[in-house]
């Protein structure tokens, strides 16, 4: 495609500022060797070069407006400015924003302008970050491939015949193509991690309540989490520090103190203990992914960590439990889109959304509630205990993110069960509420990125980031960009 080729040409002759880490960019912005205007300009160049093919975005801010904000950021920067001051970023379109329309990738909200900003947007705005786009997703978060969007489907930048993953395919593709230094995703059952694995980037699913959900369009309220997507674990740490914290507008937000997540990272992992759940590496897992994670295991050992086999036998129950809890909550959360407000009616829900709403409505019906929802909540307690028993002895659990690398378009759309199973390694993390860092761990022989995840204790983000960062200091998977993609 011409647009991608032109982007490649453009990159050869330009500075490629957006390949740099957030802290490096912040340093250069501080010493005035670069400007926010240049950064924002590069963001738009990159988007203009590939958006007509990739469709990572649903709505992009007017360039002039973004440049004006960048100019203002350059003028107002002080020695005390946040590293995110004047930094362009994008969010999944499931966050409400005053300045840009919010669709959650559904035509039901096609023209919806929110009168208020999500807390995460307010926090980033307060740090001086510049929102430049609203990214694609499966409508309402319902899906694992971004194919359930009502807008043009996001293509995987590594192979445009394949899915970028979901539900947050848009933000992941945007980071893979270095549109911006970071993006805000939303993870209910793998929606941040799965696209990160398929697009070869790093992302953090935070502890439930770590980041305020106020203004995040609810998919399944007890599972939804707000987290960063970026190039590296360290970048995720810088963003997390800006967005974490208790919010008086979210009764489920955590009062736990916010760590200095990016501080104290070491290259040695001596004393760190990692659990390796053997059940996660049995049949069903792609052999290349399995091999890549076994190699990563060796890498962790060579960095000084102890990695031990453990048993986590509940894996197979994760998807059934998740697909009772999440649809039940979503059937309730989506009730407000009844056609009375917001312009469009329920007939515009996708098949996947209708399926989940109907499943959830059934599970909550009187006579079925005890057998489904209540039982699933009890199972939730069992998962919590199982994770707690492992994580009381280990700093993290090393697990795959997906069973297979990025699938061809249609594969998950035509097979709803395969779509559900895609998140088999992810959903229990949300059911339990613990954090998880997804990061690249290699490429298939076909050149598709592969990912793994480090699952930590409640509020154990700092530990996960230091583990991930040490791994990334010894490997270069996270530095690869889809330049050699055949199109």
């Amino acid at each position: 495609m011409d647009s991608l080729s032109s982007m490649l040409y453009w990159r050869q002759v330009n500075k490629n500022l957006l390949d740099l880490s957030i802290l490096e960019l912040a340093k250069r912005l501080q010493d005035k060797s670069i400007t926010s205007v240049e950064l924002v300009d590069e963001s738009y160049e990159r988007m203009e070069a590939s958006e007509s093919v990739i469709h990572a975005a649903i709505t992009i801010r007017d360039k002039k407006e973004a440049l004006a904000l960048a100019k203002k950021a350059d003028e107002t920067r002080t020695a005390h400015s946040s590293p995110l001051h004047g930094m362009p970023y994008v969010v999944k379109d499931g966050y409400v924003t005053k300045d840009l329309r919010t669709t959650a990738a559904s035509k039901v909200l096609d023209t919806f302008m929110s009168p208020y900003n999500a807390t995460v947007i307010e926090k980033l705005e307060a740090k001086g970050a510049i929102l430049i786009g609203k990214m694609n997703m499966d409508a309402w978060g319902h899906g694992a491939s971004t194919e359930n969007t009502d807008y043009p489907v996001t293509k995987n930048p590594w192979d445009i015949t394949r899915s970028a993953g979901g539900s947050g395919g848009g933000p992941a593709a945007a980071i893979a193509l270095r549109y911006v230094p970071f993006a805000i995703g939303e993870d209910t059952g793998g929606s941040i991690r799965l696209p990160a694995a398929w697009c070869g980037i790093t992302s953090l699913k935070v502890t439930y309540g770590r980041v305020s959900r106020y203004g995040a369009i609810a998919y399944a309220s007890s599972l939804d989490t707000v987290g960063p997507t970026a190039k590296t674990a360290e970048d995720c740490a810088v963003v997390l520090e800006a967005i974490a914290g208790v919010d008086p507008k979210d009764a489920t937000s955590s009062p736990h103190a916010v760590d200095d997540y990016a501080n104290g990272m070491t290259k040695s992992l001596t004393g760190k203990r990692i659990a390796f759940p053997t059940e996660y590496y049995k049949e069903g897992l792609d052999t290349e992914i399995k091999a890549a994670i076994f190699k990563a295991r060796e890498q962790f050992v060579s960095l000084g960590a102890v990695v031990e086999d453990v048993s986590m036998p509940l894996l197979e129950f994760g998807v059934p439990v998740y697909y009772i809890l999440a649809p039940s909550e979503t059937s309730s959360n989506l009730g407000r889109y009844d056609g009375v407000r917001y312009g469009n009616g329920r007939e515009l829900f996708t098949k996947e959304t209708s399926r989940r709403v109907m499943t959830g409505t059934y599970a909550l019906s009187s006579g079925y509630y005890d057998a489904y929802y209540k039982k699933a909540q009890k199972a939730r307690t069992v998962f919590i205990k199982n994770y707690a028993s492992i994580l009381s002895k280990y700093d993290a659990i090393l697990a795959p993110v997906t069973t297979v690398p990025a699938t061809k378009f249609g594969a998950l759309l035509e097979d709803p069960v395969a779509n559900m199973m895609m998140d088999v390694y992810n959903v229990t993390v949300n059911i339990v509420g613990v954090p998880s860092l997804a990061l690249p761990c290699g490429f298939t022989k076909d050149g598709l990125p592969m990912g793994m995840q480090l699952i930590g204790n409640m509020h154990g983000e700092k530990t996960l980031i230091s583990l991930g960062s040490a791994y990334q200091s010894a490997t270069d998977w996270h530095t690869k960009t889809p330049q050699g993609v055949t199109i």
Binding site: V96, Y116, Y214, P248, R336, D338, L364, Y369
Partner: protein, 442 residues
């Protein structure tokens, strides 16, 4: 008719007068004449992404009401979502409480027996709909001002068996709510709403009737009693034909003085209740509940017995004062004024004055006290002058005198009143009665 008895359970909704909404910071303004949709925000409009944060005062007040009514307070409680579609419910669900209400049990005493409470829970009020004509078209307008107002629901056991008992129960409950100070409980404004669930069974039967009729739109105790009476007669007529009244919701129609059918309930509605995931469960320690108990203001009964024993009032005087807080405050202020104490005016005299006189609301307590003191200064009138007035009145009303002699006892009061008028209020009234009786008997 005497073979049947009423079985009534009552649902009472009370809007709390907290400063802000149940789950948002919007002003809680229950006045009726404000512009529509002025107190709204993303939360009470149910906008995408908005989250509810419970109002602590509303929770505390509900517990205090429970304490005042002898309920057991839950150590662990939670909110639940109750789903149904209606245009005044912007989220598609109401945040309410299902199986773990804040208060369980409790009771209200009536002279017909104890009315046990089933539960008291806290929820959010809905918006309101206005069906009207706009540019010649029939439209329904939604006003979200009321959306998210804290609403307490009190549910009784089916312990009410007459309209008189219902009225007494409601009046007592109303008084308790007002004394706890958590609501204006103004039925005209809808801040207290009554919904009796009425059924009728044969006297002596113990099992619950197989049907019940819920009556809505009742905005006074009088109408509650009237609706119950109306329903009783209606049900008896149906039962007499060997039929069972239809289970339905009816509305009280003030103009027709009757209930009219609104909605027939086919089986139980499925509200798909489940725990509200946006609000963590609520936990209360015993110590916390005790601090709320300590903060509870005195209740009507307690205030009544206090005021009766402190000032020598009778039951009637105590009751009349407690039922009207303005009069009670006036009484308490006036009774302790130095001028009143110097004049040695008794408590019952002051109470009678305040209860019976049409007091100009603009007059101060001191002015009222002066009037009371003046009325107590008896101008002595001689028996001769009294008798003179009596004779004059009797001569002017020969028919009344004849009627009295024919056995019409009440006529005496008519004559007495005329004598007093003749005396322009002066003179010892007891002496007037004695002399009048003497003269009539002669």
């Amino acid at each position: 008719m005497n073979e049947y008895e009423l079985v009534i359970g009552m649902e009472i909704h009370v809007e709390l007068k907290t400063k802000s909404g149940m789950f948002c910071a919007c002003k809680n303004d229950q006045s009726l004449d404000k512009k529509p949709n002025i107190y709204t925000c993303p939360v009470c409009l149910g906008l995408p992404g908005a989250l509810p944060v419970p109002n602590k005062t509303a929770i505390d007040w509900t517990i205090m009401l429970g304490l005042a009514l002898g309920s057991e307070i839950a150590e662990v409680s939670k909110f639940d979502r109750k789903h149904y579609f209606y245009p005044d419910l912007p989220k598609g669900y109401q945040i309410s409480q299902y199986d773990m209400p804040l208060c369980v049990g409790g009771f209200v005493d009536t002279s017909f027996g104890k009315v046990r409470l089933h539960r008291i829970h806290l929820e959010e009020d809905t918006g309101t709909l206005k069906h009207t004509l706009l540019d010649g078209k029939r439209v329904s307008l939604v006003d979200f001002n009321r959306s998210g107002t804290p609403l307490v629901e009190i549910v009784t056991e089916p312990d009410i068996h007459s309209s008189e008992q219902a009225k007494e129960f409601l009046k007592t409950l109303h008084q308790i709510v007002r004394f706890v100070g958590i609501s204006d409980a103004d039925m005209e404004k809808g801040s207290m709403r009554l919904e009796p669930n009425i059924s009728v069974r044969r006297k002596g039967a113990t099992e619950m009737p197989k049907y019940k009729v819920e009556v809505k739109n009742i905005n006074s105790f009088k109408f509650a009693a009237a609706a119950i009476e109306y329903e009783f007669n209606r049900h008896v007529a149906i039962l007499e034909k060997g039929e069972i009244p239809v289970q339905e919701t009816r509305g009280w129609n003030e103009d027709k003085n009757a209930t009219v059918s609104q909605r027939v309930k086919e089986g139980a509605a499925d509200y798909r209740y489940f725990p509200e995931p946006d609000i963590p469960p609520l936990r209360f320690t015993k110590e916390y509940i005790e601090t709320l108990r300590a903060a509870l203001p005195k209740l009507a009964d307690e205030v009544k017995s206090d005021v009766m024993s402190a000032h020598g009032l009778n039951e009637y005087q105590g009751k009349m004062l407690v039922e009207n807080t303005i009069k009670l405050t006036k009484f308490q202020t006036i009774v302790s004024l130095p001028s009143i104490q110097r004049a040695n005016v008794s408590g019952p005299t002051i109470a009678n004055w305040i209860i019976n006189k049409d007091i100009d609301p603009s007059s101060s307590e001191n002015q009222i006290a002066d009037q009371i003191i003046a009325s107590q200064t008896i101008v002595v009138v001689s028996d001769d002058d009294l008798m003179k007035a009596i004779v004059e009145v009797m001569e002017a009303n020969p028919k009344a005198v004849a009627d009295f002699k024919a056995g019409k006892e009440p006529v005496k009061m008519f004559l007495f009143g005329n004598v007093i008028r003749e005396l322009k209020g002066k003179g010892d009234k007891e002496r007037v009665v004695a002399l009048l009786e003497e003269k009539l008997a002669a």
